[in-house]
Each structure stands twice: as structure tokens, then as C-alpha cells.
């Protein structure tokens, strides 16, 4: 029978470190306060908690042993990739182990003829495409954080990116996984084949936010680099027209490689920051990238240009060469940090809505922004209706963060009301756990918990994330009745 301990952080270190040292080098263990601090949050710094200790294994076997040890003593484990997550998914547990996969960063194989790459979870997203480039291949999902985020984190979040409109999300581009269960058993799913016997656990693990298993190896699909990619920039003096143009392009049977929108505030910020040559007076711009064979792209550009003008674009530009194309994208890619310069802090939201509601929902967000007195910039994946409203605030101003979170919650509820979802790609983590109560009924939530138990009966992997308890939702429902104001904002709710 297992002994269940109740540890303080210091007690946990004292108890666990000697046992971990039996199979881990000293450099794989971080225990001092100054070493632990950098791990207190992920990309969503509003939530912070110092981990009990950090373990950084270098081999799959070490990860397995760590998990076995933790399972035996019922110690919670939070997996972490590069820590760029935006929903607090990698927020540590103070009486638990933060398991960093960053040192598992080997590219095991590029299989050119099968068009696959097999990598360890700590490999950066962009590094896969770099390794595949000499063969004319690349890995399609390209989150804006791709220079930093890990492929393991991408799988755990089912990350998307600018090119996912045409090439799919992480789930569409992963062929195989190896993961460790909460008690350290190695499970292999799929491989280089196009399907695998049994339930589609590959899909289930993708986007599971470190709740069902620790991913230790990934086989991804590589695609041939398109012969040609060309981007167009269209300016609009009205958001509604820009939204209409998005629908019209899709309705015409064109699936652009990327179709991104930025609003006035975002355009200005990006222009000031990287001088991409954006039309600063515009209410919105669309960036539409077409790729494929030379002939296909030429044909597409003519058609898209016409559609954009028909739908009220005041200006349409086509990048003349690769340098200009990269410049047009530079503004979009730097949009988050650019907006970040406008205020001491910003909060990035991530809802998805049916495309047809783009203009309406953006207008409602803008009304909420005025009501709360907090500026909101919009930079987002218009082609698949994935909004990223960025709320600007100042964490040092008393009450600003609370109001920001409240506004954020309202925006997510707008997304649900429009038939959409509270998260398109950033995950639920701790951030959107209350909105899960609005998105799902108690029967669905109970089903999620049952699935979690099927993998992790003792609830040791990333406890308290992604799926709220029914009790918490009951409390959230009551809080809602009281005008959306949290009764005791200081009290931990996860």
C-alpha cells in the first residue's frame, strides 16, 4: 500500500531529492529559491506559484523513473515544455514536482521518403522545419511563438498558427506519440502509419494539457515546401467589410494558406514597432497568403484581389518579392510584443467564433472595451474565426487586473453566445477554468473527469487544470448571479 504524504514545499524537497538523486545527476534537480523562481509561471504571468522543486531529466528513462517515484508517493507532477503557454497550463504546484522536458531536445530522425520527423518533446517547433529544410520539407503548424515553444507543448495544447487554415492544427500533423502514464509506463501510439488499431488516443492526447500523460516522443508529418507563397495586404475603413471579405474568399472556394486580420490599434502598434509599411489610417487590414504551385498562386491572386475590392477594400497590395512578403508578415508576427509596448501589461484572449459573426462580435468587444475603460487590440486568425483580443492594462493600478479578467470573461461569453468556444488554441489551463462551466454542462464535465481517471486514477498529473470540478462550477454559477463580481478574489480557486 502506498503512503500518502502531506508535504510542505521544503518537506517535499527533503523527502524527494535524495530519492531522485539515485537516478538523476545533480544538474537535473533545481531546489534553491533563485533556481525555482524562473519556473513560477508560463507565458501568462498573472498566475504565479513557485514549484516545490524542478526536475530536468535528460532521458526518457529518467522521466519514467521520476514519474514512478512521484506516483508511488502520490506527489503531483506538472509537465513543462518551453513555458510559453498562455493559459497557465504549466503553472507549478507548490507541493509538487515541475517536470521540465526542455533537455529532451534531440531530433531522432528525418525520414525523407515517408515525410516524417521523429523528435523528443523539448525540440523547438521551428527547429523541426529547420532540420527538414535541406530536403525541401517543413512542419506546417507555426504558432507565433515557434522560435521558442516546444513540440511537446504544441501537442499538449494542440497549437495552431497562421498556416493552420490550410494545413491543419497540431492534431492533423502528428502521426505518432510515445507518452508515459502517470505511473511511468511507456505507451506508444501510432508511428509512421496513417492510422493505428484501437481508440484514437493520438487525438485524445493532443490538446490534453499535460493531464493524461507526459509526452516523450513525437512523430510529425512533414510537407513539401510550396513552390511559391505570396501575400496580399488589403486595407478596409470598416471592420464589417473586412469580415465580409473573409467570408467571401472562403465562399469562393479558396482556402488561403493564411488569412489574418488586425484592427486599428494593432496596425498602429505594429507599424510603430517594425515599420512594415502598414496603412495606419485603416480600420482593419487583412493579410492573405496564397501558396501552392506557381500557376495556382497566380490564378488565386487575381481572384482574391477582385473579391477584396468587391467587398470594400480601399487598397490591395501584393508583395512583389520575398523580402516584401517577409516585411508584411513581420508586422503580424511582432503584433503581440508591439501591442505590449502600448501599456505596462496586456492580456491575450483566445476565443473562436463562426466567421460570419466576426464583425458583430468585434463591435461588441469594442463596446465592452469602452465600458471598462480598457483598450483592446485585435490581431487574429480571421480565416478560422480564432480571435485574439489583447486587453491593455496596468497591473500596478489597483483593480486593473481584476477588471481586465472580468472583461476577458465577458469576451469569452460573447464567443460562446455566438456559437463558438472559449479557447481556440491556447488551452484552458487555470485561466479559463471557470468559463468551462459556461461552455459545458455537468454531464460533459463529469465525462471529462471520467476520462482523466481512466489515465490518471490518482489525479497526479497537472491537478486542478483544464477541467473544473462540478463543485467549483456550482460556486461559479452562484458567483455569476452576484453580478459577475467574485466574492473573495483573494481565495485560491484551483
Amino acid at each position: 500500500m502506498n503512503v500518502v504524504h502531506s508535504f510542505t514545499p521544503a518537506g517535499l524537497r527533503e523527502f524527494l531529492v535524495p530519492k531522485l538523486r539515485a537516478f538523476l545527476p545533480a544538474a537535473a534537480l533545481l531546489t534553491a529559491d533563485e533556481e525555482l523562481r524562473p519556473y513560477e509561471c508560463d507565458g501568462l504571468s498573472a498566475y504565479r506559484r513557485v514549484p516545490g522543486l524542478v526536475v530536468m531529466p535528460e532521458t526518457v528513462e529518467q522521466v519514467a523513473q521520476t514519474l514512478k517515484l512521484c506516483a508511488h508517493h502520490r506527489v503531483p507532477v506538472v509537465a513543462r515544455g518551453a513555458g510559453t503557454g498562455l493559459s497557465g497550463g504549466a503553472l507549478p504546484h507548490s507541493e509538487g514536482v515541475l517536470l521540465s522536458l526542455a533537455r529532451l531536445n534531440r531530433i531522432m530522425e528525418i525520414d525523407v521518403l515517408n515525410c516524417t520527423a521523429t523528435v523528443e518533446p523539448g525540440v523547438r517547433n521551428l527547429a523541426i522545419s529547420e532540420a527538414a529544410a535541406p530536403h525541401g520539407l517543413y512542419y506546417a503548424p507555426d504558432p507565433s511563438s515557434q522560435i521558442a515553444c516546444s513540440i511537446g507543448g504544441n501537442v499538449a495544447e494542440n497549437a495552431g498558427g497562421v498556416h493552420c487554415l490550410k494545413y491543419g492544427l497540431t492534431v492533423h500533423n502528428v502521426l505518432g506519440l510515445k507518452f508515459l502514464t502517470s505511473d511511468g509506463e511507456l505507451i506508444r501510439l501510432g508511428g509512421k502509419t496513417l492510422d493505428a488499431p484501437g481508440y484514437d488516443l493520438l487525438a485524445l492526447l493532443t490538446g490534453s494539457e499535460g493531464m493524461l500523460g507526459v509526452i516523450v516522443e513525437i512523430t510529425v508529418k512533414l510537407l513539401p515546401r510550396p513552390e511559391r507563397a505570396q501575400v496580399m495586404l488589403a486595407a478596409f475603413d470598416d471592420l464589417e467589410n473586412a469580415g465580409g471579405a473573409v467570408a467571401a474568399i472562403i465562399a469562393a472556394g479558396i482556402i488561403p494558406a493564411g488569412l489574418e486580420m488586425m484592427d486599428r490599434l494593432a496596425i498602429r502598434a505594429a507599424e510603430d514597432f517594425v515599420h512594415a509599411g502598414y496603412p495606419v489610417g485603416a480600420a482593419a487590414i487583412l493579410l492573405c497568403e496564397l501558396d501552392g504551385t506557381n500557376e495556382e498562386v497566380s490564378d488565386g491572386i487575381l481572384r482574391v484581389r477582385e473579391l477584396l475590392l468587391e467587398h470594400g477594400a480601399t487598397e490591395v497590395r501584393t508583395a512583389r518579392d520575398e523580402a516584401e512578403r517577409l516585411k508584411m508578415w513581420a508586422g503580424r508576427k511582432a503584433a503581440f510584443p508591439a501591442v505590449g509596448r502600448l501599456a505596462p501589461d496586456y492580456y491575450c484572449m483566445d476565443g473562436t467564433i463562426p466567421r460570419k459573426h466576426l464583425a458583430g462580435v468585434l463591435a461588441q468587444i469594442s463596446a465592452l472595451s469602452r465600458e471598462y475603460g480598457l483598450p483592446v487590440a485585435n490581431v487574429f486568425h480571421a480565416g478560422d474565426g480564432n480571435l485574439h483580443p489583447l486587453i491593455l492594462y496596468d497591473a500596478n493600478k489597483p483593480g486593473d487586473l481584476t477588471r481586465t479578467e472580468e472583461l476577458g470573461g465577458k469576451i469569452l461569453e460573447l464567443c460562446i453566445a455566438a456559437g463558438g468556444t472559449i479557447t481556440g488554441e491556447h488551452g484552458v489551463g487555470v485561466e479559463k477554468i471557470d468559463q468551462m462551466c459556461a461552455q459545458f454542462g455537468s454531464a460533459e464535465l463529469a465525462q471529462f473527469h471520467a476520462v482523466k481517471r481512466a489515465f490518471d486514477p490518482h489525479g497526479l498529473l497537472n491537478p486542478g487544470k483544464a477541467v473544473p470540478t462540478l463543485a467549483r462550477c456550482a460556486e461559479f454559477g452562484r458567483m455569476h448571479v452576484h453580478g459577475g463580481k467574485l466574492a473573495f478574489p483573494g481565495i485560491e480557486r484551483f
Binding site: 492544427l169 484514437d200 495556382e296 468556444t421
Partner: protein
């Protein structure tokens, strides 16, 4: 076209069956019975739950009840020049959406456009307790909660009764041609996979006998340019060729020997098993008509990192041994998941080993 919602009745039936511990055999129109075999249990007919619930061409999404005939959905999409890009096999005139998704079947376009599971955006379903649940939705990107909609694809009805499925749809390509090349299997496999690694508008690749057939899809100029690059002889009735392949109506399938399906890494060279081969999915799906012993076939597939399953026996005999065997370490997880959705083990019990 008839439009009926019987979800409440279906849920009621499941709930009662759960209470009485009475196994249910979920069925549509039975077009895939040869694929899954005999289910045992009290039949639960889903065909009455039918109709397209919503279809908005500009959103690229269709939602339909599980009993809706696949043909009806495809006809609606075709009116707007759209399609189910995974090109599902029907295996009969009245195949339903629910059966297609439960079996997780995809056609020749699969390697290039994705499988059935890749196009599922959301489901409504009844779990083994008779609760109606909704997961996913109608939007392209959604990571709220575990992806239980995709988990239903290919689960053969063992985790729930599918009520409604939302699928991503795609525009039909403006132009398509089918090309033939005289090539033996080994060289054909290399060609298919080399081309798949190049920026060509490939949308199907299959080989049998001494003939490699490929399909190119996209803008007319792109298809023409690729044809000019690759050469090959144009097949007049290309569409029919791929439909016959997809529906197992080619001469290859009319043979008394047992039919096996091997799923292998696409570029793997021809396997040394005695029998007649038909290669699809750019090398990733290989059919063989063979009398070889099962163990030998499983071995051959596993040695190259793949898996094999017998798909029904010869026509008329119609009871397949079901899906390929699971790796032993996967068995407990499957059992736990089954328990999580269907604690009384009443749904398609015979499919669970």
C-alpha cells in the same frame, strides 16, 4: 427529405438497457456489417434519427444527424461545389453518416486531405448511461476540454451512440485528372512517395498489377503544369476509377481469398507475402488477397512498423474478426476508457475484447 429527431427516445432506450444490463447493438443501414461483423445484443436502430441540421457553405461546416444517408449529405454539399474531403467509402447505397464516422473510414484522398477524424469538429452522443453529451462544436479551432469528438471516430460505437456530427467540408477542386504509369510495385512506391514530398497537387495514388494511378487536383493550370512535369497517360473516367477503388468494386476485390488490410509507413517497399496486392493511400494502405496464415501477415506488417487486420471473409460470409489487435500495454487504457463511457458495457459489447 425527412428530418426527424429521436434523440430522446434513443437516450431513453440506452438508459433502460443500462439499468437492466442489456447489451445493445447499434446499427444504421448495415452497409459496414461485413467490416465489423456480428455485434450481438438487442438492435438499436439509429436510422430514424436523421436530417441535415445545419449547413453553411461559407463556414465550411455541415452538421447532420447520425442516421442521415451519406449520399444525401454529399448531394447537398455538391450543390455548393463542396465535398467531404476524406472521400468516405459508402459500401452500399444507404450508408449513414453515423456508421461512416463510427468506423472511421476514409477514401483515396486520405493521405493528402486527411482522414475522417481530421474533419470532425464536434459530436452529440449518448454515453452508456443514456446521457446526451455534446463535445467540440462547429468552429474550426476548439481546444476546450479533451477532444472526445475525435475519440468517437473509429470507436465502432463502443463508447457511445453517435447522434449528430459536425464536419469540416472543403471546396471541390476546380479541376482533376487521373494519370496512369506502367510501373512495377517497388518503383511505383518510390514514385508515389517522392512525388508526395514535392510541391505537386497530388490527391490520390494507388498501384495494382503493373499500373500506378495518381490523381491531381486543384486549379486547372496547376493540374496541367503538374501533368506536363510528370507525364503519364490520362484516364478518361478518372472519377469512376477512384470510386470503384474506394467502394471495393474493382476486380481485385472479387476473389475468394480472404481480404487483409495492412496499414504501413507509406514508403515501405513491397512486403513479401504471397497473394495479390492493391496499394492505396500513396503506399500507406495495402490490400492483399491471400491464403497466408494470419500470424505471418501480422508479423510482416509489424516488422515494418505497421499493423494488419482481416476485413471480412469473402463476400457473403460477412463476419470479420474486427479491428487489428492492440499492443498489450494499450489494453488497460482501452478497458478504462470503455468503463469511463459505458460502465455497464452495454454498447456494441461484441466489439470489445
Amino acid at each position: 427529405m425527412n428530418n426527424t429527431d429521436i434523440s430522446i427516445t434513443l437516450a431513453e432506450t440506452v438508459r433502460e438497457a443500462a439499468e437492466r444490463n442489456k447489451p445493445l447493438a447499434i446499427h444504421g443501414n448495415g452497409t459496414k456489417r461485413f467490416f465489423i461483423g456480428d455485434l450481438g445484443g438487442e438492435p438499436l436502430d439509429v436510422t430514424g434519427h436523421r436530417g441535415i441540421v445545419s449547413y453553411e457553405p461559407t463556414e465550411l461546416v455541415v452538421s447532420a444527424r447520425a442516421g442521415t444517408p451519406l449520399a444525401e449529405i454529399e448531394a447537398r454539399l455538391a450543390e455548393h461545389n463542396q465535398m467531404l474531403a476524406f472521400e468516405p467509402p459508402h459500401f452500399g447505397a444507404d450508408a449513414t453518416l453515423g456508421g461512416t464516422i463510427a468506423c472511421g473510414l476514409s477514401g483515396p484522398r486520405r493521405p493528402y486531405a486527411g482522414a475522417a477524424r481530421d474533419h470532425v469538429l464536434g459530436v452529440k452522443m449518448i454515453n452508456g448511461c443514456g446521457e446526451i453529451l455534446a463535445f467540440g462544436g462547429q468552429v474550426m479551432k476548439n481546444v476546450a476540454g479533451y477532444d472526445l469528438s475525435r475519440l468517437m471516430v473509429g470507436a465502432l460505437g463502443t463508447l457511445g451512440v453517435l447522434l449528430e456530427v459536425s464536419l469540416k467540408v472543403l471546396p471541390k477542386p476546380a479541376s482533376e485528372i487521373t494519370l496512369m504509369f506502367e510501373l512495377p510495385a517497388d518503383r511505383a512506391i518510390v514514385a508515389m512517395n517522392t512525388w508526395a514530398g514535392r510541391p505537386l497537387p497530388l490527391s490520390a495514388a494507388s498501384h495494382s498489377g503493373d499500373t500506378l494511378a495518381i490523381r491531381l487536383s486543384g486549379a486547372a493550370q496547376a493540374v496541367q503544369a503538374a501533368h506536363a512535369k510528370l507525364g503519364g497517360e490520362v484516364v478518361e473516367k478518372g472519377e469512376e476509377f477512384w470510386r470503384e477503388l474506394r467502394e471495393h468494386r474493382r476486380g481485385f476485390f472479387r476473389d475468394d481469398a480472404p481480404l487483409w488490410r495492412l496499414s504501413v509507413p507509406p514508403a515501405v517497399p513491397p512486403l513479401k507475402l504471397p497473394g495479390k496486392w492493391l496499394i492505396d493511400w500513396g503506399g500507406g494502405q495495402r490490400w492483399i488477397k491471400t491464403q497466408a496464415p494470419a500470424a505471418e501477415i501480422h508479423d510482416a506488417a509489424e516488422q515494418v512498423g505497421g499493423h494488419a487486420a482481416m476485413v471480412g471473409a469473402a463476400e457473403g460470409r460477412g463476419t470479420g474478426p474486427g479491428p487489428a489487435a492492440l499492443a498489450p500495454e494499450l489494453v488497460p487504457l482501452h478497458r478504462n476508457l470503455k468503463q469511463a463511457f459505458d460502465p455497464h458495457a452495454i454498447l456494441n459489447r461484441a466489439m470489445v475484447s
